[in-house]
């Protein structure tokens, strides 16, 4: 089971919403499918993102994958720890492996995201 207090995208990002602030990362399933993550490219603070727009890149040894913003907002902070320790995305995808914090411009968009049960069903279906 994936964490029940988070919401999810079909692209395997998770988001933890706290008022008008959202923390974003990729799911354990996504991290394990990518394999050993060796590089994460994140936006600078202040960058405005539309819902489902690409905001960065995660690279495993073999592959490059885009990251998509689950919600619209401005980047308040990017996880600087990932520059030196990208493996946190594999080892702690929901904690130390978080990627950006957003100041939301339209919190109602949360309703368009998957809940834990729906995301579980998505990954179970492969």
């Amino acid at each position: 089971m994936v964490p029940s207090d988070l919401r999810y995208t079909k692209d395997h990002e998770w988001v933890r919403v706290d008022g008008d602030v959202a923390t974003v990362g990729i799911t354990e399933y996504a991290a394990s499918q990518l394999g050993d993550i060796v590089f994460v490219e994140l936006p600078d603070a202040g960058k405005a993102l539309d819902q489902f727009a690409p905001f960065g890149v995660v690279e495993s040894v073999k592959a490059v994958s885009d990251l998509f913003a689950p919600l619209s907002g401005a980047v308040a902070e990017a996880n600087g720890a990932l520059a030196g320790s990208p493996e946190l995305v594999n080892s702690e995808p929901y904690e130390g492996g978080w990627m950006i914090r957003l100041t939301l411009t339209n919190p109602a968009e949360v309703d368009e995201l998957l809940d834990a049960a729906a995301y579980d069903a998505l990954i179970a279906a492969g």
Binding site: G35, D36, V38, F39, E41, E59, V61, K62, V64
Partner: protein
């Protein structure tokens, strides 16, 4: 039946890979393990201990007959008749225009018997080309690719893992040598070759005995930390060792001199060979681009197909790139204009629209301690 409708080939070790938790992918028409524990762990296992590879997808072509050597000297850029029995060399088969059809290892098994090992993706093309080029010689091609399994054991502990299992004198088996013998009671050919930059062996056996050999090696190596290794780590290992991969660094539009493999081409050998005229011309006139090693000096990983710039000029393209597990830096191979190919030259790799500095370095990136 069309090529795309062809069913996947299955290695005799597929059930072993599944039991070991491997992720299997279609590679060159074969269902092959890309990783088990993870590419980084597997990479380190080979550098620090030893790794076991299923290479059953490779093509094994046996050439036999009184003119086997002469036939190969005509078909390939190297001079196989110059090989001593039991020795091997790196070779290539090129088209009449000098473009590389495949890179190969040629083993001389006996005076009139050779083994040519081709990449899986090219096994059919090489087999067909050799059959055609051998036609006017007293030599017979026996394509045993489907009947032959290849298992490699690579890494510093390989010798001590294999030693108690084999009747081959490993101390006498030098790098790029091959011997007839048995491993774990299974008859085969034991070669001291590989594609990792480490010491190790490649063992050719009948497909029907492959699982038995795999099990025996894994059991014998357990105490030494022998780990199964997928194609993902095979790629990072060969890249660190500066070894080209067909389809990335080598292809039909590339000649050996551009790939820094001019030394492999034996223009001094007697007689004609396919590609000679074209390659003599290249050797005389020089090349306009060269394969180089790159180390990224800014943040980012260069990947296959990324453009390379030198100031305002486009100078070339990346052919392979990854984060080097052994060096902890992003490294790449790529072609650049000859003027930019000297080690120490600074260039820029275009990564998602941004130019990131990279330095041309001498290859290999990684060299084992001896």
């Amino acid at each position: 039946m069309t090529e795309t409708a062809a069913a996947l080939h299955h290695t005799p070790l597929e059930a072993r890979h599944e039991a070991l938790g491997a992720r299997l992918i279609d590679f060159a028409g074969w269902l092959m393990p890309v990783q088990y524990a993870g590419i980084l762990d597997e990479h380190r296992a080979v550098r620090e201990r030893a790794g076991l590879f299923d290479l059953s997808h490779m093509g094994e072509l046996f050439i036999e007959g009184p003119e086997a050597g002469a036939a190969l000297a005509f078909a390939l850029v190297t001079d196989p008749p110059a090989l001593a029995e039991g020795r091997a060399h790196y070779s290539m088969i090129v088209g009449p225009d000098g473009g590389i059809i495949d890179d190969l290892i040629v083993y001389r098994l006996a005076a009139e018997r050779f083994l040519v090992v081709a990449n899986a993706s090219n096994a059919h093309v090489v087999s067909d080309a050799l059959a055609e080029r051998l036609a006017r010689f007293k030599a017979v091609l026996d394509d045993r690719s489907m009947a032959t399994a290849l298992i490699a054991i690579q890494g510093p502990r390989s010798v001590e893992i294999v030693r108690p299992l084999t009747d081959v004198d490993l101390d006498a088996l030098r790098y790029y040598a091959i011997a007839d013998g048995s491993v774990a009671g299974i008859p085969g050919l034991v070669a001291r070759t590989g594609y990792t930059g480490e010491d190790g062996f490649e063992i050719f056996v009948e497909t029907s005995r492959a699982a038995e050999l795999w099990d025996a090696l894994l059991a014998a190596g357990a105490a030494d930390g022998l780990a199964p290794i997928g194609l993902g780590a095979r790629d990072t290992l060969r890249l660190e060792a500066g070894m080209p991969l067909y389809g990335n660094e080598l292809d039909r539009s590339t000649n050996p001199f551009e790939a820094n493999l001019g030394r492999v081409v034996k223009l001094a050998k007697r007689g004609d060979f396919v590609g000679r005229a074209a390659l003599e011309k290249v050797a005389a006139s020089g090349v306009t681009r060269r394969l180089v090693g790159l180390v990224m000096r800014g943040r980012g990983i260069a990947r296959h197909g990324y453009p390379i710039h030198a100031g305002t000029r486009a100078t070339g393209v990346v052919t392979s790139g990854t984060q080097s597990p052994s060096l902890g830096e992003a490294v790449a191979l790529g072609y650049v204009a000859t003027a930019d190919a000297e080690p120490g030259t600074m260039v820029e790799v275009e990564i998602r629209g941004q130019r990131v500095p990279a330095e041309v370095v001498a290859l290999p990136f990684y060299r084992r301690e001896r």
